[in-house]
């Protein structure tokens, strides 16, 4: 998929990005503007059915670089809903097949451990953070951030939907889906890409398992901590009827209540960390998508080769005069004129085929070159991010354990001070 086929021409072609260092030193949108999603709002389509309610998010754009001319106005805000985010995401996927496209936050609630759906205020808040993260990632990617459609997404108040559908990305996406649905079996798969693909699958599985067990743990832990509230109640009731033990029991009861309450904030914080891990879960899927794109190009090249070979064989047959069906059935050979004509026609086609091959080769090389940088950058980023998230997770556990320990030590003290 060369740049000429993409619906929108890249507004400015980035300078040659050969290595990861180049990547990092490139200019990005984020270096000139600040993007954030400040709030969310519920809107309705006129009817009062629950289904017709949807949430919109307010994107706030602030130009920090005073000389930056690309963006229209200094400060702008715009309301966008999740489906519009999905549109820009799909568009980017189609337009930049060699880039690992940053993923959107989950559409439906995944790994839920308590009853919640997409209208929960807590879920809306997490989604807001996830969408902000998506915008920041896109804006910091040197290849993606200057895309016209993306800039329009951030600013164009009216008619953005029409603009983007006009770009025809939907059609391309459908075509692509159709071509990809046929499982690609390459004759000579690229070892590196295969490796990346396997890695992506592994990462997806591992992250999935981790998220699943985490949700189970927090579920059990939550139930356990809430149980302590019962203790608190029991102890306070008991302290009423006791004389000497009363004080100790009362104080212990308070600490039990504090245990029950402390789990709330822990659960919230953990949920945020889980969101970070979910992002990489989707990233892994995007990585596999990238590999699939590469495979598609390889497939195209192989097909071109096959076409050429077939054509050559055909031409040879034509030159020998055995092109028609008649020759196969009756063994006659064609008259010279026919022979010449068909041979010449086939020669022309062969030339076209060779051109095709060349083009496919160039596409593939181009793609591979760009992708390898992308992949390397992604790996680096992922390593750092995952490490950070996991360390955050551990730190949170440490904090929670400390709180528990403190509470129980206090309880023990209270009990010991009882006569």
């Amino acid at each position: 998929m060369s740049t000429e086929d993409s619906p929108i021409k890249l507004s400015r072609s980035p300078t040659k990005i050969e290595t990861v260092e180049d990547f990092e030193s490139q200019d990005t949108l984020l270096k000139h503007v600040d993007i954030s999603i400040v709030e969310s709002e519920k809107r309705a389509n006129g009817t009062l059915h629950v289904r017709d309610h949807y949430t919109v998010y307010l994107i706030d754009l602030k130009v920090t670089d005073p000389d930056y001319k690309m963006v229209q106005s200094k400060i702008s805000t715009i309301w966008r809903r999740y489906t519009e985010f999905e549109q820009i995401h799909d568009y980017l996927q189609v337009t930049y097949p060699h880039v690992v496209i940053p993923p959107l936050p989950e559409k439906r609630v995944l790994y839920a451990w308590r009853k919640s759906d997409t209208t929960d205020p807590e879920f809306v808040e997490r989604r807001r953070a996830g969408l902000e993260n998506f915008l920041l990632r896109v804006a910091s990617h040197p290849r993606l951030c200057f895309d016209d459609q993306f800039i329009n997404f951030l600013q164009q108040e009216h008619g953005w939907r029409e603009t983007i559908t006009d770009s025809g990305y939907l059609l391309q996406a459908e075509n692509k889906l159709k071509s990809l649905s046929v499982s690609i079996r390459l004759k000579k798969p690229d070892a590196e890409i295969e490796g990346v693909k396997t890695y992506g699958k592994q990462l997806e599985t591992n992250l999935g398992n981790f998220l699943y067990t985490r949700s189970k743990i927090i579920e059990k832990n939550y139930a356990l901590c809430k149980l302590h509230a019962n203790y608190g109640k029991l102890f306070s009731e008991w302290s009423v009827i006791e004389k000497e033990m009363g004080d100790g029991l009362q104080k212990a009861g308070h600490y039990f209540d504090s245990i029950a309450d402390s789990i709330e904030s822990v659960a919230e914080d953990e949920e945020q960390l889980a969101d970070q891990l979910k992002e990489y879960l989707f990233y892994a899927a995007a990585l596999q998508q990238l590999c699939a794109n590469h495979e598609a190009l390889q497939r195209a090249l192989e097909n071109a080769h096959d076409a050429l070979n077939n054509r050559i064989a055909e031409r040879n047959r034509a030159a020998a005069g055995k092109s028609g069906l008649m020759s196969r059935l009756f063994g006659t050979t064609d008259p010279d004129i026919v022979r010449d004509q068909s041979t010449r026609a086939l020669d022309a086609k062969i030339l076209a085929d060779r051109d095709n091959i060349e083009k496919a080769k160039r596409d593939l090389e181009d793609f591979t070159r760009k992708t390898s940088v992308e992949i390397e950058y992604f790996q680096k980023q992922k390593d750092k991010d995952l490490h950070e998230s996991l360390v955050g997770f551990i730190t949170l556990q440490v904090k929670a354990a400390k709180k528990n320990l403190q509470a129980w030590t206090q309880i023990k003290e209270c009990l010991q001070n009882m006569p």
């Binding site: 592994q202 990462l203 591992n206 398992n209 981790f210 699943y212 067990t213 985490r214 189970k216 743990i217 059990k220 832990n221 139930a223 356990l224 149980l227 302590h228 019962n230 203790y231 029991l234 009731e237 008991w238 009827i241 000497e244 033990m245 992922k382 390593d383 750092k384 995952l386 490490h387 996991l390 360390v391 997770f393 551990i394 730190t395 556990q397 440490v398 354990a401 400390k402 528990n404 320990l405 129980w408 030590t409 309880i411 023990k412 009990l415 010991q416 009882m418």
Partner: protein, 502 residues
């Protein structure tokens, strides 16, 4: 010392005390007995407590088969100053039940300590499960102990029979006087048959005992509530522990496949999770035995109060033989009063002990959990990532012994440098780790811990740094001196040795 005081008690109380065994000394297990299997059980010495002249213990449950049925027996040991006791006897639950019944019959004014409950129909299915048997054993022990410590019941004949009759004779002795009619007759004689129904008469609430009654009732409900809650807490804890083990498995699988720092963090997670899971597994049993018993005991006292109230009501309502009833009433009140004043403070102390036990267990669990996660944090954070950011294979090959020498200016290391020449590029990682054995202890104490696990990049690093650190390491082995300034160099090796050990 307990022994001295109890022997003093000995002399005061019993003129005809026969010191069969020196009572305050260990219950010698050397007494050879037919049931040799009992010796196999650990015998903790049975020592009388201060102020008591008797000590009992119920333990060592054993399954026994007879021709008709299978049942569990418990070993009852007793050490007493008042009568000679065989080193141990075996009793089954039914015997305990009989004892309880006879005690209740013989002393109708006194609340007999309650027995652990019979099986419910569901529990019949797992009546030999170790947990259940252990709980029951503890409960029976509590029962027998409270009988022994009870000022009145301890001298009861039935009690003595229970403790001293050899196993085979027990059935005859116990059963002979045990006709249901007899028991019923005894209790009714003391409390009067028809008059024991206060429903029609005035309900007299003696203020002295009504407060106690209320207190006992709420105490009973609180204790049972506490027991139920603790059981739920334990179950929840076990469930959490299972899930944490699951997380450890996931993390281990992931760490194998991941690379770089990510793997380190993941491995850390796994370690933390497993450390958090471990301490929750053990089941606390004592509270499960003790709390319901205490609750039942409170209930038993409550019953006695109610009986007394009934008597009182009868006294107030009825006009007959006032003297007799009045006497009985006085007896009952007196008994109750002394009982309660005795029992309530003791129970309070016991409750306190039980609660402290529970709290201790929880504190231990959380301490271990905290330590586990803190260790995990150490495992996964690294603070010198800069060192390894852009190491490539060529950089490793560029390293040479001469370069290493430059890093170790101290003269005493010259000898080590000679050794380094032999340190080839493809030295076995194992060597490095062995040299680092001495550093293991420091790992856990060092603050700048770093973990790089199972990635090719890092193994290259280790090989390269092995050359750098060789001098340090050898100096460690030789002189056990930690070079504080080169601490950063030491770290990767330390942690790599951890990999081999784990």
């Amino acid at each position: 010392m307990a022994s001295e005081s109890s022997s003093a008690v000995l002399e005061l109380n019993d003129a005809d005390a026969t010191d069969a065994d020196a009572p305050s000394v260990m219950d010698a297990p050397s007494a050879a007995d037919a049931l040799g299997a009992d010796d196999a059980h650990a015998t903790t010495p049975l020592i009388m407590e201060h102020g008591y002249d008797i000590a009992v213990k119920v333990d060592a449950p054993m399954k026994q088969l007879s021709t008709l049925e299978t049942f569990v027996t418990y070993r009852v040991r007793c050490v007493c100053a008042r009568w000679p006791t065989p080193p141990h006897v075996r009793r089954r639950y039914n015997h305990f039940k009989l004892l309880h019944r006879r005690l209740a019959a013989a002393h109708p004014l006194v609340a007999a300590p309650p027995l652990p409950p019979l099986h419910s129909a569901r529990q019949q299915l797992d009546r030999y499960s170790p947990a259940f048997v252990a709980v029951r054993c503890l409960a029976l022990h509590a029962f027998l102990e409270s009988v022994a410590k009870h000022p009145i019941l301890t001298h009861s004949e039935d009690f003595r029979l229970f403790l001293t009759t050899p196993d085979d004779d027990l059935d005859k002795v116990f059963k002979s006087e045990n006709s249901a009619l007899n028991l019923w007759g005894l209790s009714t004689a003391l409390y009067g048959g028809g008059e024991a129904k206060p429903a029609n008469g005035a309900r007299v609430k003696d203020p002295e005992f009504s407060a106690a009654a209320e207190y006992l009732q709420s105490l009973q409900s609180k204790l049972s509530g506490l027991c139920a809650l603790s059981a739920k807490l334990y179950k929840g804890s076990v469930a959490l522990s299972t899930e944490l083990c699951g997380m450890r498995r996931v993390c281990d699988a992931w760490a194998v496949q991941a690379g770089g720092r990510c793997a380190a963090a993941v491995a850390g997670c796994g370690a933390g999770a497993s450390a958090a899971a471990a301490p929750r597994a053990r089941a606390p049993l004592r509270y499960r035995a003790a709390l319901p018993l205490l609750a039942a005991y409170a209930g038993a006292h409550l019953d006695k109060i109610r009986s007394r109230d009934a008597l009182h009501a009868a006294y107030v309502a009825g006009n007959n033989a006032t003297d007799d009833v009045h006497n009985r009433l006085e007896q009952a009140s007196e008994a109750l009063r002394s009982e309660l004043t005795d029992w309530i403070p003791k129970t309070r102390t016991e409750i306190r002990t039980l609660l402290l036990e529970l709290a201790d267990r929880q504190v231990a669990i959380h301490t271990q959990t905290l330590m586990g996660w803190e260790h995990a944090l150490k495992l996964s954070t690294e603070d010198i990532s800069e060192m390894f950011k852009t190491v490539s294979k060529s950089a490793v090959q560029n390293l040479s012994p001469t370069k290493c020498r430059n890093l170790t200016p101290e003269t005493e290391r010259d000898i080590d440098d000679i050794d380094m020449e032999n340190y080839s590029n493809d030295s076995d990682i194992q060597d490095v780790s062995q040299l680092d054995m001495s550093n293991i202890q420091d790992d856990f104490k060092s603050d700048a811990a770093e973990k790089s696990v199972k990635s090719d990049l890092n193994s290259d690093n280790v090989k390269s740094d092995a050359k750098n650190d060789n001098s340090d390491v050898k100096s460690e082995v030789n002189g056990d001196r930690l070079d504080a300034s080169d601490d950063s160099f030491l770290d990767p090796l330390k942690n790599f040795s951890e990999v081999d050990l784990s």
